[in-house]
């Protein structure tokens, strides 16, 4: 054979070095996305008792939907449940920071807004929080993306993004989807 042992070892070392370089580039890209572009997984680790979220507190029915908070921020609160979102449609202003807070009272769900990076699992026992900014006006689909039971396929809500001028919260700061 033309290749002796030392050449084999050398070629492997060269390859290993190159692959270490490839790994470093991959890691570098991920770190850049995290530290530079602020693309971070949702990990706020905030607890909530799934048994009673409908009774009182932040996710009682009257608080669901989008609200201009007294502090000025815009928060969209959602409950994902078998097999619907409550509310089934939320309205948000364009190009404005929005915090989505979502909980599940029953089983695991997941939400995404199609065409955006809004994506999180919803685990009973925890509040999932996603910060985002919707750049384009229009209506987007927000389906459940984790199997939650036989009605999972039809568990779809809508996000309506409106120009800031058309985002008109009421005196309480709440904004609802107008009837389509």
């Amino acid at each position: 054979m033309a290749i002796d042992e030392i050449s084999v070892a050398k070629s492997e070392r060269r390859w290993a070095t190159a692959m270490a370089g490839v790994s470093a580039v991959m890691l570098g890209a991920i770190l850049y996305a995290t530290l530079g572009l602020h693309l971070n997984p949702p990990s706020n680790v905030e607890l909530i008792d799934p048994a009673t979220i409908h009774v009182s507190g932040e996710f009682a029915e009257e608080n669901l939907g989008t609200r201009l908070e007294p502090t000025g921020g815009i928060v969209t609160r959602l409950v994902t449940t078998q097999f619907s979102f409550s509310p089934a449609c939320v309205v948000v202003p364009q190009d404005t920071p929005v915090t989505i807070r979502v909980v599940s009272p029953d089983v695991i769900h997941g939400i995404m807004v199609v065409g955006t990076n809004v994506n999180t699992m919803v685990i009973p026992g925890y509040v999932s929080r996603v910060r985002t900014r919707f750049t384009e006006v229009g209506e987007m689909l927000m389906p459940c993306h984790e199997f939650c039971g036989l009605g999972h396929s039809q568990m779809i809500a809508k996000v309506r993004v409106v120009p800031v001028s058309e985002f008109k919260p009421d005196a309480d700061g709440r904004a609802h989807c107008a009837a389509p």
Partner: protein
Amino acid sequence: MDNKPNPPRDTFSGKVVGTIGASALLAGLLAFIVIPTVTGREDGLDVFTALCRAIGLTVEAPSPVNGHTAGSTVALDPATSALLAGGDPEKGAVIAGDVCVSCHLTNGDTSDPNTIPTITGQSARAIYKQLRDLKTGARESEVMKPIADGLDEKQMSDLAAYFGGLSPRNFDNPEVIAISERTRALIEKGDASRALPACAACHEARAGGPWEAPNLTGQYPSYIDAQLKAYAEGKRRNDLYARMRIIAKKLTPQEMRELSAYYNAPAYPF
């Protein structure tokens, strides 16, 4: 550098342990120091809090936002499960004989299918939840409110155990209504274009849907139809998270009639 192709054992093991140790250290440094320090700033956290958060030592403070519900206040928790598990059907039968029999008959069927549901063989959870909601006023009924007011938690669970344990309705003369293919699809498959889950995903035995969902098999069409209308008009609002209000608003009157008729038959695969 060692150029031998097969280095001696100790060198090899040492190198391996060193490499892996270095990779683990790098992972730890990035994950527990660098990333939380930088991203913590974005969240407005000081360095110490950010570091504690990254190792899961502290959790975010719960939201101070308050709210209340005019709807159901039944907690879906192990305590409620335990209460129902402790329901005594014999005691339930005694209470039923005293207060339920005039409308729901001794066998849990109904004296007037237009306004009164059959509750024989109904899910105990559904019976309990409705009694509780009638008592708190989350579900409005002039007839049932005073009756539910007279029941305590234990008695409700006894009644649930009694009616839940009875055999299902006797189908001597089911009223048969033709059901369109479209409505049948709505029952078995749902309709993604209207975000309507299949009725069967919740309302049949072993569906695995919401904990408190009633089993509709054998329910009278006129009663189901009336409830769907009440949900659609917002007159009934003790469904958790507006689930049924959202669904019922999307149904046409024709669909409501056909869906209701579907359940008036004993023929189910399981």
